[in-house]
Amino acid sequence: MATSVVMPALEMAQETGKIVSWIKKEGDTVTKGEILLEVETDKAVVEIEATADGVLAGVKSHEGDVVPVGTTIAWLVAPGEQPPAYSPANVPSARAGVGAIYDRPGRSQTAPAEPAESPKSGAQISPKARRLAKEKGVDLSKIRGTGPDGTITSEDVLKAAETAQAPTAAPEAAPRLSAVARLMAERTTQSWTQVPHFFLARDVDAGALIELREKLGTKAVTHTDLLVALTARVLAKHPKMNASWDNGSIRLNPSINISVAMAVQDGVVGAVIPNADKTRIPDIAAQRKELTERARSGRLKPADVSGGTFTITNLGMYNVDAFNAIIAPPQAAILAVGRIADRVVALNGQPAVRAMMTLTLSGDHRVVDGAQAAVFLNDLAEAIRAPGDWIG
């Protein structure tokens, strides 16, 4: 019996998924659990496994296609078996070529195929609209109906005809943004325009941190790993720094999950190390390493990037001394970490050279205020100065 391969809903609000690549090809024999294809959602690239043994057949959606969740995109059939015919509702019309977004993702269905002759694939079209469209050469499939129940009326057709006749001064369409780039643009704009940011900067002596890293092995552990561990442990004392703004109220988060900002091809994502306050440094390092690799290859899973309660972003490797970071809502704060560099500092009345590092904390003023954040930052600076007190 044929089994359908369906565009899965990987996230709560996901409406469509983009096919990144087919790992298996039409005609390949697959066993249950093997990876069939990769799908990109708003947040991550996910591998989709075969849900049954069989031969991959009737592959209908191809690399680059954006498909509503629930849509059948291929079949797994017995050797020699023909894949079932697609219902008209599931077959993309000519207009939905590569990269096109279907008009009505909400209408997608996992239900069994409708009778094949069903002519309607969407909105109703009034007889008058249909005639006018023919006369004026308007493509009805490109029109969104504004009549009762979304019926396409003559008014819609005339409007479309007018638009088509208007001189097209529009520049050539830019390539569509990737999901990561689009999401980054939306989220940072939303945060920067809606979250009242404030910033606290603090220089700290990183000598002890460097020593600790050398003790644990510079290959295995990064400064970021140590900062994740220390920050998480300090956060345990400062629950408001680990809180979230939740539609007018402050929600304290039961666990401390540190997001580590990671550069990916088209932007930045926050890969999450859950319960970082209770996780040993080598484990943090191992998790961070795996997440980094997945991020680089664009294979982060939805779970990898959700649930963070506090973000650390480190641009030290790019020789940035200090910077202000944008909070990732609903988190209340983000810590921007600059490079560790030798600087001349005053020590006991004398100039001295020390490995220094600048931390800049961005806070959401709806959740925390400057004094609360300063106390946290002070504790964190203290922890960096004497990490042994915090890490057993």
Binding site: K128, R131, T146, G147, P148
Partner: protein
């Protein structure tokens, strides 16, 4: 400026008959309770005084009988008007109207004609229960050889009734019993209204409401409500449902692209069905939406007043339907 005055629809009907009886001595009326009583609706009050009991002929309760008399009289040179008190009693006259009056001219190769008028009433909400409240005009529209008239104003009633009396063929003339008190201007001088010519009762551009008889008033009321929503409704009264002025209906439908048909008869296989079909055929490629029909609820008309009222199309109902069609 032609002289005009306000008459009720009942007065306009009486005046039309009186004038025609004065003009043509072959015209006479027969029916139940029409002479001294002037009909139960008092429409014919006073006619017997002017024209006598030979021309205003009270009959026994015998619809089939006196309708048959009228058919024979018409065939032999008279111009009778038959008064059927309630249109519900059409059941009793069907053989005379359908198998005799409608057929004679054809079956005699045009040698005989049947210049008679059958007047009857239609319309509910008079608390007359299931056997005295029906609107059965559609039955006659189905028969080739009969003309069917549905006046909606005093002016139309008088002009159309005169045309009916002067017509050489059998005409069925339905008056809504609830409209006898409706007042409107009626010219003093003689006039007739040709059959098969619809009247645009209100000019509009967004939706056409085709309405007959008392439903014209309902449609005009709905059109007024629609004004507040910036929906301009055109109200068309076919006035005669056979012959039907298809051209005017189709032209209006083409202009507005949306149509509601309202008639107090039952919708199923009824006047609204025929008119909707004419419009769908004639204006299909100019329609934005299916033609909406509104007729009497498909039930025997209840005696209970609230239930009876619920069976008849209302302004609100037409208004809501129009709003839905216009989106």
């Amino acid at each position: 400026m032609p002289e005009s005055r306000e008459l009720t629809l009942g007065e306009a009907v009486r005046e039309a008959m009186a004038e025609e009886m004065r003009r043509d001595s072959r015209v006479f009326i027969c029916g139940e309770d029409i002479a001294e009583a002037g009909t139960v609706f008092k429409v014919l009050t006073g006619l017997v005084d002017e024209f006598g009991t030979e021309r205003v002929l009270d009959t026994p309760i015998s619809e089939a009988g006196f309708t048959g008399i009228a058919v024979g009289a018409a065939m032999t040179g008279m111009r009778p008007i038959v008064d059927i008190m309630f249109g519900d009693f059409s059941t009793l006259v069907m053989d005379q109207m359908v198998n005799q009056a409608a057929k004679v001219h054809y079956m005699s190769g045009g040698k005989w004609k049947v210049p008679m008028v059958m007047r009857a009433t239609l319309g509910a909400t008079r608390r007359s229960a299931a056997q005295h409240s029906q609107s059965l005009h559609a039955w006659f529209c189905h028969i080739p050889g009969l003309k069917v008239v549905l006046p909606s104003t005093p002016y139309d009633a008088k002009g159309l009734l005169k045309t009916a009396i002067r017509d050489d063929n059998p005409v069925v003339f339905f008056e809504d019993k609830m409209m006898y008190k409706l007042k409107g201007p009626v010219p003093v001088e003689d006039y007739t209204i040709p059959f098969g010519v619809a009247d645009v009762k209100r000019v509009g551009s967004d939706i056409t409401i085709v309405a007959t008889s008392s439903m014209v008033q309902v449609a005009l009321g709905a059109a007024k409500l629609l004004e507040e929503y910036d929906i301009s409704a055109e109200v068309i009264d076919p006035r005669t449902v056979w012959p039907l002025d298809e051209k005017t209906l189709i032209e209006s439908a083409k202009k507005t692209s949306r149509v509601i048909v309202v008639d107090e008869g039952y919708g199923r296989y009824g006047v609204t069905a025929e008119i909707a079909s004419v419009i769908a055929e004639g204006a299909f490629f100019n329609l934005e939406a299916p033609v909406k029909r509104i007729g009497a609820m498909h039930v025997p008309i209840p005696f209970s007043p609230p239930l009876e009222d619920a069976t008849v199309p209302t302004e609100r109902q037409v208004f809501e339907a129009a709003k839905a069609l216009c989106g």
